[in-house]
């Protein structure tokens, strides 16, 4: 019996090689998107975790700075004195370009105390030793390999004051507690690191071991009290939560993208199986008449679906892995580097394989189940009727379906409206709920579509088609609703893809438009100088002396040190901190404010003790204009009067702006991440840039950017993210194209005889093509218009909720280019992929087609 199944299933799969292949491809692409996104996320998160773990080693607890440049080294002794602390190991770290000959790479450099650090971390030295002298450096095998380093080689390291030379004295394996996936790194002596990175008298972390018998929680509490906001203490893993939060909007988008692809993938399976079953109705009914039981017939169909699902899953895993590797690399290169993360290794775990199989297989079987049951439910006699006059596809449960669909649309919409935050941030669980609700709305549309399609066809499509193409158009629009569920599924696949394209793309467009407007006002300098400034953060800070040198370059009218970085607020959540010398800033920029007036605010900032905050911070902390903002600092809690609410575009969980004098005083940090310059003669910007490079270029790594370049660079971060999305959009569109082609093939196959008769009564080949393409066009119109409408809705929802998610208010901008593309895809994709089935239909031999039953 099983053997019989296998034979029958194999025959039918192999018999229709082309379409079986298309089905497998569709499933494969669907799984690809899911797997790729999951693996990319996994790689990002894993490397962040392992970075933390690697850095933290065996540490039970870790003390870190709440903002900027570390915390005073005095805290080390204070922490050591807390009861229950067995060991406290200090470290300083910074990202830094490392040069060896012509080769250069960015590595993380740790300043350690070799004697104590081995308590926390194991260094498996393969050659040499840990640094003993001030100009000695031990490197990870990865760094050594990357630059081709040998013991005794001398490398250049970029420091706050410029390049410094160090000698390689040791190479160690990144294993054990010094984990891999960190990217290349090196270790130098603590004191030297403090000096090189402008952290004299400061530390970045203290790793703690808790004494046997002491409870880590109580020790953590004791240290927290002791530090009193001057630094933070927590378990090393706690910090990954911050990361999670920062990455959440990316993860959200990626997850959304994969859900969408899964949706589309499921549809193509659905249409394929439905078609396969329709085609095999006769076989099945003959088998049924011969005594195959319903359950057995069902099994037969399901086992076919499972086979294709399995193959698709395998394909998806393979492609997904490839795509994930590319995505992880791209994200690292263009985007994540801002957060100091490298998603280096994409690891395909057993879990991913299981997920892919479950999705590929599960969705296939699930999608097959409905049509399969329908097929075996019809009586064998009915299916074998020779003159199968196909009854017009009528929805059997039209009303129930319509109500269910409407409920699925209305209830989530109402819920979103009801839970719209009046104040405060959007809690993550609620955000997730919204995602689920949006999916429910989508599902509602999909459920409603088969009922709505015939009605829409009658009112809109048919008259349109008749007006455009006459009787062939009429036939096309009628064919569309012969199998309303299948037609709806196809249209829905296109709808989802276009919604994805317009929605996500629209977000990008809105974000960029908002950003552009902000940038024009807020960034007014002519040139910006930094040593290794990437995006909003620096890897190596700049020494105050450098600022003075820059000021002295001829043609420079003004040099204004700026500081940007992360700060962790009292509530334990991170925010973006920007520090300006407002006396200088007011000469070249104006921060756009949502509340408060700029002249008054800048006066207050200049006087000191004042701050600007973004709406996200205001919501988070429940503060407003005139209230007092309290910030933890190494010299205790600081109070700032809020003199303005910033327009925020950064989306890093909120922005806080302080004046430099306050920052230097409370944080005891005179370094800067970058220096804004105004030139005396705007026409001579290039000459000034050259003069700066001439003077300083040899002693340090300098990045000098013009206003325009910087704008392009920042814009690039948005763009690179959305470019990644473009890949997913392309896959989604490909999948929906496959779905359309498949449906049309099914449609043509089922109607071979009708096509034969049309040809016999004098329909020209071209007209047959038009009938099929007309059906495709209808699908495109329906899927396209719905997709565009939903996409715009999605964009609006995203834009409206961004403020609650990232704190950055956004203006809603219609993505015209994308809309044009979407219209193009809607109108062209379907007919284009329909061309093949249409031509096939037109080339059918008339007599063969007439014989076909």
């Amino acid at each position: 019996m099983i053997a019989l199944y296998r034979t029958l299933a194999a025959r039918s799969l192999l018999g229709k090689k082309g379409r079986s292949l298309m089905t497998v491809l569709g499933i494969g692409l669907g799984v690809t998107m899911v797997v790729a996104v999951a693996l990319t996320n996994g790689a990002i998160m894993a490397s962040y975790q392992s970075m933390l773990e690697g850095v933290a080693g065996r540490a039970d607890l870790q003390v870190t700075a709440s903002a900027g440049q570390g915390f005073p080294i005095e805290l080390l002794d204070e922490v050591r004195a807390v009861a229950g602390v067995r060991a406290a190991v200090p470290a300083v770290s910074s990202g830094s370009p490392v040069l060896f000959g012509q080769k250069q790479t960015v590595a993380t450099i740790y300043g350690i105390d070799p004697g104590q650090d081995t308590l926390i971390r194991d260094y498996h030295l393969t050659a040499g030793q840990l640094p003993a002298g001030d100009d000695e450096l031990a490197v990870s095998a990865e760094l050594a390999g990357g630059l081709g380093l040998q013991l005794g080689d001398r490398v250049k390291l970029l420091a706050t004051t410029g390049y410094s030379e160090l000698q390689v004295v040791g190479v160690f394996e990144t294993g054990g507690t010094v984990r891999g996936s960190l990217g290349p790194f090196g270790a130098i002596r603590l004191g030297r690191a403090q000096q090189l990175f402008g952290k004299a008298g400061k530390l970045d972390t203290i790793d703690l071991l808790v004494a046997p018998g002491a409870r880590p929680e109580s020790v953590e509490q004791a240290i927290g009290q002791r530090l009193n906001g001057r630094a933070r203490v927590g378990t090393p893993l706690e910090r990954s939560r911050d990361m999670q939060k920062l990455l959440d909007s990316i993860v959200f988008t990626l997850t959304f993208a994969s859900a969408v692809s899964l949706f589309a993938g499921a549809f193509i399976v659905y249409t394929n199986v439905a078609m396969g079953v329709a085609e095999r109705r006769r076989d099945l009914s003959i088998l049924r008449a011969l005594g195959l039981r319903r359950r057995e017939a069902l099994w037969l169909v399901l086992s076919e679906a499972a086979t294709m699902g399995l193959a698709g899953a395998g394909l998806g895993l393979l492609w997904g892995y490839g795509l994930a590797s590319t995505m992880a690399q791209q994200m690292t290169g263009r985007f994540l580097v801002v957060y100091g993360i490298q998603a280096s290794q994409v690891v395909l775990g057993l879990g991913d394989v299981v997920v892919a199989l479950v999705i590929g297989l599960g969705v296939s079987v699930l999608a097959a189940y409905g049509p399969a049951r329908e097929a075996v439910a019809i009586s064998p006699v009915e299916a074998m009727r020779p003159d199968d006059v196909q009854v017009n596809g009528q929805e059997t449960h039209g009303l129930a379906r319509a109500l269910a669909g409407l409920a699925l649309i209305a209830a989530p919409a109402a819920t979103i409206f009801a839970t719209w935050p009046r104040e405060g941030m959007l809690p993550l669980p609620l955000l997730r709920l919204w995602g689920a609700l949006a999916a429910a709305v989508l599902l509602g549309v999909v459920v409603l579509l088969p009922v709505a399609l015939p009605a829409a066809n009658r009112r809109l499509l048919r008259p349109l088609q008749v007006a455009l193409f006459g009787v062939t158009g009429r036939l096309a629009s009628d064919n569309l609703v012969r199998q309303p569920r299948r037609a709806a599924a196809t249209a829905a696949a296109l709808m989802v893809s276009l919604m994805f394209m317009v929605g996500i793309g629209g977000m990008g467009v809105s974000q960029q438009a908002t950003f552009d407007r902000w940038y024009q006002k807020a960034v007014g300098w002519d040139l910006n100088v930094s040593t290794s400034f990437v995006g909003i953060g620096a890897q190596v800070e700049m020494d105050p002396a450098l600022v003075r040198t820059l000021e002295a370059v001829p043609g420079v009218r003004l040099a204004s040190p700026q500081k940007m970085g992360r700060i962790v607020l009292g509530d334990g959540e991170p925010a973006f901190l920007q520090v300006f010398d407002h006396r200088l800033l007011r000469q070249y920029s104006e921060m756009p404010l949502e509340a408060g007036s700029w002249p008054a605010a800048v006066d207050a900032l200049e006087r000191g003790g004042a701050s600007l905050i973004s709406p996200a911070i205001a919501r988070r902390l429940g503060l407003g204009l005139g209230d007092t903002l309290k910030l933890p600092s190494p010299s205790g809690e600081q109070a700032f009067r809020i003199v303005g609410i910033l327009q925020d575009v950064s989306g890093f969980g909120g922005t806080i702006e302080l004046d430099r004098q306050d920052y230097v005083r409370a944080w005891n940090d005179e370094t800067s991440t970058n220096v804004a310059l105004l030139v005396a003669d705007p026409a001579r910007v290039e000459a000034v840039r050259q003069a700066i490079l001439d003077r300083l270029g040899s002693s340090t790594n300098l990045l000098v950017r013009s206003n325009r370049e910087f704008w392009q660079e920042l814009r690039g971060y948005y763009e690179s993210f959305y470019q990644l999305m473009d890949g997913l959009v392309a896959i989604a569109i490909l999948v929906s194209g496959l779905a359309i082609a498949n449906t049309l093939f099914a449609s043509v196959l089922e109607r071979r005889r009708e096509i034969g008769i049309l040809r016999a009564v004098g329909t020209k080949r071209g007209e047959v093509v038009r009938v099929v393409l007309g059906e495709a066009l209808c699908t495109g119109l329906v899927g396209g218009s719905l997709g565009i409408a939903l996409g715009l809705g999605l964009e609006a929802l995203f834009v409206a909720s961004t403020e609650f998610i990232s704190g950055a208010a956004m203006e809603l901008v219609a993505p015209w280019r994308l809309l044009g593309m979407a219209v193009g895809v809607a109108l062209l994709l379907a007919p284009l992929v329909g061309l093949l089935p249409a031509r096939w239909a037109a080339r059918l031999d008339v007599v063969d087609a007439l014989r076909y039953e």
Binding site: D478, N479, I757, G762, R765
Partner: protein, 234 residues
């Protein structure tokens, strides 16, 4: 007065099946006069349908010449051939082959609409023809609401709506009971007698063939017998 309306000369049609070649029609010569009702008989597989397909231009012969209404079909492009069919040829098949999405009236009007006749005029003419087949009250019914005989009458109406010079029918009664068959055949005969319609009909039913003026019997792809039955008294 006789005018040859369809003529085939030494027409052969072969099909490749597996490795072997099946000769479905084997060098047939045949001429059909305007206004004739020709019945083609023969055992199953003798090549009846193939001959019909060849004569009507649905299939092209492997060898030989088919002349329809003075056109050598071999020299026509597919589109030209299609146009010829559209304007001058009607078809009736065993399985009625109506388009299920269209009503009876629309099915009948279809060939007119394809020829870009105005919709209102097409509907008017279709209604007229439906009346002649006695189905005026069923005009708005969909095929699945009609009986087999009614569907076949709609199919005949559709075949006739263009006033074709030639009507081809392949087992038009193959799927009908005897009384319905008789109705259909009488209908065909009436169009021949009253409108001078030329009809070429394939059947394996001698009773149906008896409606023809000429009964051609095929055997193994050849004409075995060509019998004129007109004006012969028993």
């Amino acid at each position: 007065m006789s005018e040859v309306i369809a003529q085939i000369e030494r027409v052969t049609r072969e099909f490749k099946r597996g490795g072997s070649v099946v000769r479905a029609v084997d060098g047939i010569d045949l001429a059909v006069q305007r206004g004739e009702f020709v019945a083609i008989m023969g055992k199953s597989g003798s090549g009846k349908s193939t001959l019909l397909h060849l004569m009507s231009g649905l299939q092209r012969p492997t060898r030989g010449r088919v002349v329809l209404l003075g056109h050598d079909l071999g020299s026509l492009s597919d589109d030209a051939l299609t146009l010829l069919r559209r304007q001058h040829v009607g078809f009736v098949f065993q399985f009625f082959n109506l388009l299920p999405t269209l009503s009876a009236l629309e099915n009948v009007a279809l060939p007119l609409l394809l020829s870009s006749v105005r919709a209102s005029e097409a509907a008017g003419r279709a209604r007229q023809v439906l009346e002649t087949v006695g189905l005026q009250e069923r005009a708005d019914h969909k095929p699945d609401e009609l009986s087999g005989g009614q569907m076949q009458r709609v199919a005949i109406a559709r075949a006739l709506v263009n006033r074709p010079a030639l009507l081809f029918a392949d087992e038009p009664t193959g799927n009908l009971d005897s009384v319905s068959s008789e109705e259909i055949l009488t209908l065909l005969k009436t169009t021949q007698v009253e409108q001078g319609q030329t009809i070429i009909m394939v059947t394996h039913d001698a009773k149906a063939a008896a409606y023809g003026d000429r009964v051609i019997t095929l055997r193994d792809g050849r004409v075995h017998e060509d019998l004129a039955t007109r004006s012969v008294a028993v």
